[in-house]
């Protein structure tokens, strides 16, 4: 019937390319601040209280044990041009929400791990996670007021990072500083593409 024809037509539309970038780090490291500084028009999406309707979906997905959790996730959007859009996902900091990470990381360009030098150990799990998944990531040291300033090299050494992982200092409240963090990540991903013969980490 005619309807089926229309269904096919819709594929003729240009589907924008969506680039997914994750913003990770410990609780209170500045993920929400960073996403707020960069996102264009949308209000931040805070997802909480997975309620009755979503419980139904979770059941069909076979993840029924997760229906009672409360999940907070920041979401931001930067439109580069009509057919190219960058989405920012602030990953939940709490360890009990890590089941979400596995879904978030699929197809992601990479991650910015925000580090708070007052609680540097909080970002260890994020660093471990992305290292194990082979996801490109950088570490951005959020320079809080009143926090003791550490050099990027001291943070690199404390986190036991490979030399090829970029470590930068940033101020999550400043848009240009956050932009630099994203650009550093994208350029790092480009370098990895050039040096890695097997781009499998992107395809997963």
């Amino acid at each position: 019937m005619g309807f089926a024809g229309s269904y096919q037509d819709s594929h003729a539309e240009t589907v924008p390319i969506a680039i997914k970038i994750l913003i990770a780090g410990g609780f209170g490291a500045g993920k929400t601040t960073l996403v707020s500084a960069l996102t264009e028009i949308r209000p931040l999406r805070t997802e909480e209280d997975l309620s009755e309707p979503s419980a139904l979906v979770d059941l069909t997905d076979g993840v029924e044990d997760k229906t009672t959790t409360t999940v907070a996730m920041d979401f931001g959007r930067i439109t580069i041009k009509d057919d190219l859009v960058v989405y920012l996902f602030g990953t939940p900091g709490q360890q009990r929400f890590w089941f979400m990470w596995d879904e978030l990381v699929v197809g992601a360009l990479g991650a910015v791990v925000l580090a708070d030098t007052r609680r540097l150990a909080d970002c260890f799990p994020s660093v471990d996670y992305f290292e194990q998944r082979g996801t490109p990531f950088i570490v951005a040291v959020n320079c809080f007021d009143g926090a003791r300033r550490f050099s990027a090299e001291i943070v690199r050494s404390a986190l036991n990072l490979n030399l090829d992982v970029p470590v930068i200092l940033c101020d999550a409240r400043q848009r240009t500083s956050c932009r630099d963090a994203l650009v550093t990540l994208v350029e790092h991903a480009i370098r990895l593409l050039a040096t890695s013969p097997d781009p499998v980490s992107y395809a997963r």
């Binding site: 229309s6 269904y7 969506a18 680039i19 949308r42 997802e47 909480e48 979503s54 580069i80 650009v183």
Partner: protein, 90 residues
């Protein structure tokens, strides 16, 4: 990042739909990310998914799955880096 698009002509068959379905149809006239729909309707992803799966069953929307291999294109990534620099310079 899964994107959805309203099927052309789908708006003519909205009489038996819930208001949320109709809103979703309106929002995804052009290919739209599921994450954007969550933000627009202020509903959790799980709810949006079930609404969209209803609509897909009725062939009101087309679902486009991401093509992750595109991220192996250095030219595309360069375009992203340049775009971020240009857009967020202020």
């Amino acid at each position: 990042m899964t994107m959805v698009t309203a099927v052309r002509g789908a708006h003519r068959t909205t009489y038996d739909l819930e208001p949320e379905h109709v809103t979703l149809l309106r929002l995804c006239r052009l290919p739209t990310a599921v994450a954007d729909l969550c933000a627009d309707l202020d509903l959790p992803l799980g709810v949006i998914r079930i609404l969209l799966s209803d609509m897909r069953e009725q062939r009101l929307i087309a679902v486009h799955h991401p093509v992750p291999t595109r991220l192996t294109d250095p030219q595309l990534l360069k375009e992203v880096a340049d775009g971020l620099r240009r857009l967020l310079s202020g």
